[in-house]
């Protein structure tokens, strides 16, 4: 099975966020970029499927500027991806999720794909638009918020669970299809040192960004940090019952969140 995994480099969770001088986007100076959290789940899921189906390959595909995009692809290779393709965004390109989906779709079309896995959303812009847009661009079914994915060799169909507001939905589908992973059912593995060293010399296919067809786009025009939180108003009390009464009173009368 040919499994494509779409990966996005995002600032690591502990990054101290600040706006760039033009105030339009995050200042990425000195920021360490890592594999987006849900993308890590998608990659882990791809590797698990590869291990369970003989003759499978995992192909990591990422769209973005260097060097961060190349780095997450090398990380994916160190974890077990067989192939990697980097769709290069010129430096300073404002990343629009729909444009990213177009760039990824163009790369995926030209490689074999029985299954396309993505994180359901990235930890930076949290748009969650790439998986469904990819599905539409490739004319394939797409499923977001997938939490438990299995391949049923007997019927040659994927069986999986989607976690939605209404609860769990059990689905089955033949491939190829696109999935947005919410969480792997195992914790993602970590790379072994020899594999990390080998990944540094691995070949990454580089693909220039094709001219984007004219059409609607969006662009970030302002990046803001919330006013610093002043810290919680601490409730003073002598007994637990008194603490409870005070909190409930504040929630009703001051915060007005409670009927």
């Amino acid at each position: 099975m040919e499994i494509v995994v779409c990966l996005k480099p995002v600032p690591e969770a502990e990054t101290r966020l600040r706006a760039a001088t033009d105030g339009r986007a995050l200042d990425s100076e000195g920021v360490k970029f890592v594999l987006a959290g849900y993308d890590e789940s998608a990659l882990e899921q791809a590797l698990l499927l590869k291990e369970s189906i003989a003759g499978s390959r995992v192909h990591a595909v990422s769209y973005g500027p260097g060097p961060r995009t190349e780095e997450v692809l090398r990380a994916a290779i160190a974890l077990g991806a067989d192939l990697a393709t980097w769709v290069e965004a010129p430096p300073g390109t404002a990343l629009d999720p729909i444009a990213a989906a177009r760039a990824l779709a163009a790369a995926i079309t030209s490689v074999p794909h029985d299954l396309i896995l993505c994180g359901k959303q990235a930890g930076d812009d949290e748009a969650g638009l790439v998986p469904p847009a990819l599905g539409e661009l490739l004319s394939l079914p797409e499923f977001s918020s997938v939490v438990d994915l299995r391949w049923d060799a007997g019927t040659s169909r994927f069986r999986f669970l989607r976690s939605t507001e209404e609860g769990g939905e059990r689905w089955e589908s033949s491939g190829p299809c696109v999935m947005g992973l919410q969480q792997a059912w195992n914790d993602p593995r970590t790379a072994k040192l020899p594999n990390i060293l080998r990944s540094r010399k691995a070949t990454i296919a580089r693909r220039p960004l094709e001219p984007v067809p004219a059409g609607p786009r969006s662009e970030s025009e302002r990046f803001e940090l919330p006013a610093p939180r002043t810290g919680a108003r601490m409730i003073e009390y002598k007994t637990p019952a008194e603490a409870a009464q005070q909190l409930v009173r504040l929630l009703r009368e001051e915060a007005k969140v409670f009927p």
């Binding site: 969770a13 502990e14 966020l17 986007a25 995050l26 849900y38 789940s41 729909i98 812009d125 949290e126 638009l129 998986p131 469904p132 847009a133 539409e136 394939l140 079914p141 797409e142 499923f143 918020s145 939490v147 669970l161 989607r162 976690s163 939605t164 507001e165 209404e166 609860g167 769990g168 939905e169 059990r170 689905w171 089955e172 589908s173 033949s174 299809c177 919410q182 969480q183 059912w185 609607p216 969006s218 662009e219 970030s220 025009e221 803001e224 919330p226 939180r229 810290g231 919680a232 601490m234 409730i235 007994t239 637990p240 019952a241 603490a243 409870a244 909190l247 929630l251 969140v257 409670f258």
Partner: protein, 328 residues
């Protein structure tokens, strides 16, 4: 803006969801009385939902009564929505920012060739462009994006906008056929539904109040204290990664970076220290309450109200107090 605005109705348990109603409010604001806000609903139960839709301030309701859409992919609904948007001449489609809504927006952005944004908390029309505000980085920052026209498709963040008042006069309902679907969209089917959280209380992504427990709860057996508080509040139950990793509750309960992101009106964190991986899943909640025995826990820096104390004493007292004021 003079073109109509189409609001896509999402149905749960036979009723329009509250994120759908919020979309009507935003649609009316954008239309500013210059254009109609039109409802759209599809599925085998669409006819009865359309009646509900016709009473909440839309100019008319477009209905596709076709059971195919009940168990088919969102892609199929996107076909029906794009056809309806063409039919009524809409330039904007609004949908609640649920799992369904965000998938629909991603699909429609391509199918209907529109500028798209999800998790929108503010929207402003200026000339031919829309300016939308949305939380990013798990609520640790916000961005304002300019979306170029002429077409827009937005998923609005749930629990952000008011719901409209009921209309005195119901609007007209128009049934339209389901457009023919490419066979590729019917290769998948939903085989079963599993109710949320073992069937108790509202679901995490949807609840206006969430009570989450963390490592401080200490054992799986103690977790009932968190659940009883949630039950008294009519809240959904969440958990930190420590709890789901320890297997005290299934991973579907997890709030945070690798779990669910929630933005309820009220988030109560019990025995949760407040690691950034948890905070990014709940920071955009409107009001945050922290209960923790450690006064230096980072959760108190992001909370609005804090109680330093032993949760095994505070939670039963709080549950009792809430039951008392709610007359339970």
């Amino acid at each position: 803006m003079t073109a109509p605005i189409l609001v896509v109705g999402e149905v749960q348990a036979g009723h329009l969801t509250s994120p759908t109603l919020e979309c009507i409010t935003v649609g009316q604001h954008l239309a500013a009385g210059q254009a109609p806000v039109i409802g759209f609903v599809a599925g085998s139960s669409a006819r009865s939902v359309a009646d509900e839709f016709s009473h909440v301030g839309v100019a008319r309701v477009v209905v596709v009564t076709d059971a195919t859409l009940d168990t088919a992919l969102v892609a199929a609904t996107a076909h029906a929505v794009a056809a309806a948007a063409e039919r009524v001449g809409a330039d904007t489609v609004l949908v609640g920012g649920t799992t369904f809504g965000r998938e629909l927006v991603g699909r429609l952005a391509i199918r209907w060739n529109a500028s798209a944004a999800s998790s929108v908390t503010e929207v402003r029309k200026e000339g031919d462009a829309l300016h939308v505000r949305r939380p990013i980085f798990g609520g640790r920052a916000t961005e304002t994006r300019r979306l170029d026209g002429p077409r827009f498709v937005l998923a609005l963040r749930p629990h952000t906008f008011p719901v409209p008042p009921d209309a005195a006069v119901p609007s007209n309902i128009e049934e339209v056929p389901l457009p023919s679907l490419p066979p590729g969209l019917l290769v998948a089917r939903r085989t079963a539904l599993e109710p949320t959280s073992e069937g108790v209380g509202p679901s995490l992504g949807d609840a206006s109040i969430v009570v989450s427990g963390g490592r401080g709860v200490r054992t799986a057996e103690n977790f009932h204290l968190v659940e009883e508080l949630a039950a008294a509040l009519g809240a959904a139950v969440g958990a930190s990664r420590a709890v789901t990793d320890a297997g005290w509750r299934p991973s579907s309960f997890q709030v945070g970076q690798t779990g669910r992101s929630v933005s309820p009106q009220l988030y109560i964190a019990v025995g949760i220290s407040g690691a950034i991986q948890h905070l990014v899943g709940m920071l955009s909640s409107r009001v945050i309450v922290a209960i923790n025995s450690d006064a230096s826990a980072p959760i108190f820096r992001v909370a609005d109200y804090g109680i330093v104390g032993d949760l095994f004493q505070i939670l039963p007292a709080l549950t009792a107090e809430i039951r008392r004021v709610r007359g339970l």
